[in-house]
Symmetry: C2
Subunit: 308 residues, 2 copies
Amino acid sequence: MIDLATFEHPAVTTINGKHWFHELSEEAFPGQAFSLEIEEVLYHTKSAFQDILIFKSSKFGNILVLNGIIQCTERDEFAYQELITHLPMFSHKAPKRVLVIGGGDCGVVRELIKHSNVVDNITMVEIDDMVIQLSIKYLPQMAKFHNHEKVKIVIDDGFKFLSNLSQVDESEKYDVIITDSSDPEGPAEEFFQVNYFKLLSNSLRKNGIVIMQSSENIWLNLDYVSDLKHKAQKVFPNVEYSQCYMPSYTSGQLGLLIATHDVENNLKVPTRDITEENEITDKFKYYSEKVHEASFVLPKWADSQINK
Amino acid sequence: MIDLATFEHPAVTTINGKHWFHELSEEAFPGQAFSLEIEEVLYHTKSAFQDILIFKSSKFGNILVLNGIIQCTERDEFAYQELITHLPMFSHKAPKRVLVIGGGDCGVVRELIKHSNVVDNITMVEIDDMVIQLSIKYLPQMAKFHNHEKVKIVIDDGFKFLSNLSQVDESEKYDVIITDSSDPEGPAEEFFQVNYFKLLSNSLRKNGIVIMQSSENIWLNLDYVSDLKHKAQKVFPNVEYSQCYMPSYTSGQLGLLIATHDVENNLKVPTRDITEENEITDKFKYYSEKVHEASFVLPKWADSQINK
């Protein structure tokens, strides 16, 4: 067990006798921080790829932090996991083969399993096995389907995995690819470049859909978000930007970029009639048809730049 | 000038040599805090009503803090000011007389002035004159219309002001009443009770609309938000809950409760055709017709409790 009184970390301070973790990033969001009170530090290490900190917070359950950035809290993780999963899954008519790049906490896999009447095959490619193992131990509600019969976990660099895929048959490609990576500062850097969109494109079946977290948000860096969309548009003719609203992500929100080659598919509304899918949707806490549509509505100034 | 190196405040700490303000509240949001880096403390006092802190942040401009709670930052204040103002203003056919309870930073007044082709009379009732005077000095872009010819400022307790109003003629009552108060912990406590909704009701003209900030949000305390809506429903037959998404409010969002006696008025869509109001809407950064509608869409679990 780690003694909190002597635990030293540049982002942990004491305020009024209580220990707080501050999410700080001079590069990504200087001058602002989301802070959580720590009840107990559960684990801290440097893996081969990144600094991993797991602590029990006083009010948000267990928290996974990679390179100083909060990846998920047990209290609000469902918002992000549901939106990044169900947006593409309900925008696709019959998503049978699904690929997850990253997603080591296995939260996206958990959401995908809700679609088991449609999905045949879920492959998750995570670079850092330690994130998976720690999630199984400390985030059991997120990782509970890591060994489900439809799930295949590959420990590899997602970029490399996709590079090898480009050669394979259409049948081995994917209907939906979800990039649930960490931010560009770290091992996920190459996921935010045009070449990555090309790889995604080559790995998709006809009418396939990709989605990824955009790392920044409209308040922090609208130019970055707008540029990222332009990069995607160099490869995909149909690209949209959606937002997930939740307390533990910087500025209380995180952007998602969704794209497809199918110009007929209006990604802003579910393609399938979700009211007929009670078996799936009964289990949702965040996602609904209305949430799907509203997630694409941006404040006027951001909309006029991103969607011009 | 206040020397930051020797400035002592329970919510200000030093991290890696930089000074940070932490928004802390054991009552309202234990265990979580939004933190901003301080560049310079501009003013700190205890007025007759509350603790007032104004500082220049490194990235969010000047910040007004009342009783330790961030009221506004120059960087994102427009989101809240626009939504709380334009939701009721565009939900009403012809809002001629408007009352603002609180709103000492004068941001709502600034937004109301954009409707000057419709509005005849704006009255603002703020209990703490010092907040107005400090906003004129330190938040000049927010307070710029405090002395506009259509604006009358009354320094008084909003609750008392409304109590005296109940007797007056219909003609002296209001089409729109915006309660832009601080949270219940402090002088604004009585704004969150059934009696306040009764006072509002008595002060409204036929088909009038009221709106107020809900203090809590769905992530912090869904029961509280739900109870507040029930309190409003004891007085008004038509009540809806909307959300504003912005970085500097707790959890990245703030709820707004909007209500009217007019059961025919669908508050979730603008009543007036806002596309014909370019003269007004050209000046908006946050509000649009789509933002109006989407602000009422809640995550599924919250929707099923609040809108059941």
